[in-house]
Symmetry: C2
Subunit: 257 residues, 2 copies
């Protein structure tokens, strides 16, 4: 793994803040776990886009997604929420969140209301944790954006699979090369900016190429290394020279701050 990949891997927290941050994570988590266990069935809207003073959620089981419906009726999925993820920790400062949270599978979750969250973030350690959660979410959004603007269908799917794979693994939720992904191809399309039809075709091709197997709601990674290469944009299964990394790349003038 080279330097570029490493810095792209995850937003590590600043050492100088890590102690308070850990404490804040612990406190916030405990606050969530002190609330009653709720659940939602597949397809249910957990937080509506126009909900006043939206709450924050801790997903304990299942998966959800964050979606935005554009004026012409099309849907765009901005993020996928996995077990142990906290959604909208910053909702406390907003009057409306502008997007809905929908259960992708049966979901168990805990909920802290807007007022509760506002009370909690008065504590500096929890505030720090909420800031870190926001930073991480934005970091992920940037990668998502980058994947969509720079990769073709195959690369986007590879990226999505690996992103979820790495997230689950980092949480210690899986140790194998397979996991459950409760998204329909339609939803995958809305997440990656593709149509169902093209998602179907591309998944099939990747299955034939023995890269990854996405069937129903189960993902099995067949060739992790190749998959990573595809997601990095320098794919071409048949090896081939991936054209030199643009020797004439327009790179801004370097200047350390």
């Amino acid at each position: 793994m080279n330097r570029d990949e490493r810095i792209r891997l995850a937003p590590m927290c600043a050492p100088a803040a890590s102690e308070d941050l850990l404490a804040g994570a612990e406190l916030l988590c405990r606050a969530f776990l002190a609330t009653p266990d709720l659940s939602a069935k597949r397809g249910m809207v957990i937080i509506r886009a126009d909900a006043a003073d939206p709450p924050s959620l801790l997903i304990t089981h299942g998966a959800a997604y964050q979606s935005l419906t554009v004026p012409d009726g099309r849907r765009s999925i901005a993020d996928i929420v996995l077990p142990a993820d906290i959604v909208g920790a910053d909702h406390g400062v907003l009057s409306r969140c502008g997007h809905e949270i929908v259960a992708a599978s049966a979901v168990d979750y805990r909920l802290l209301t807007g007022p509760q969250m506002r009370e909690l973030i008065r504590g500096p350690r929890i505030a720090l944790r909420v800031i870190a959660l926001g930073a991480e979410a934005r970091w992920r959004a940037n990668n998502h954006l980058s994947a969509i603007t720079r990769l073709d269908a195959r690369g986007r799917i590879a990226w999505m699979v690996l992103d979820i794979f790495d997230r689950l693994r980092r949480k210690g939720l899986i140790s194998q090369l397979n996991f459950s992904l409760p998204l329909t191809q339609d939803q995958i399309g809305d997440y990656l900016g593709l149509t169902v039809v093209h998602v179907s075709r591309t998944l099939q091709r990747m299955r034939e190429e023995r890269l990854v197997l996405v069937d129903r709601h189960v993902v099995i990674i067949r060739d992790l290394d190749s998959l990573r290469r595809v997601a990095a944009g320098l794919a071409t299964l048949d090896a081939a020279v991936p054209k030199t990394p643009s020797p004439t790349a327009r790179r801004p003038i370097e200047q350390s701050i």
Copy 2:
């Protein structure tokens, strides 16, 4: 303006938090203004992707962008930073930010170092402000994503122009239908996931259609209403019926939380 548009317009702050939030904004701003005035020339990297303990910036003059370079050498621009914007207020909690901030034009800015920011966010009002800044940035990232996945080249450009237009207007920096946008077509392409060639052609077409005029670094909006329609995805300059808003739209089961 209907409800859908309104809730999409901007992430308004929760009334219950607005007082502290305003105070926090004021405090943070003052902290920035107490630092020396710095400047960067066009094209300079203000914060490097691998900078350890990255600082936060307040842009006082000019514009910058936040960019990510993918492994194959291609660049993707995640966000555009305008005057009065604060960049990376959450950098204090990260050890690396993973993206660079580059000056799009000559830029004047103030800088607070990682340690300084960490000290500041111990204050609950400033912490609140930082959380709000993060929420707003994520809200924008979601719209950006949505625009790129759901709109064609014409729609994306319309969206970009309007987004910047609205941001500048909300800050009170412009009152006319024209403003300066210090991005090359190449950078616009990297922001919208298009090639330079296609950006050039599309801009030209929009100029002919008298929608908007983007020349060199000046933007002049010719037909604001049409532009908004194009950005909403139900465009078609030649009017035409914009196909009914998908009567069969698969909408998740409604359930208020």
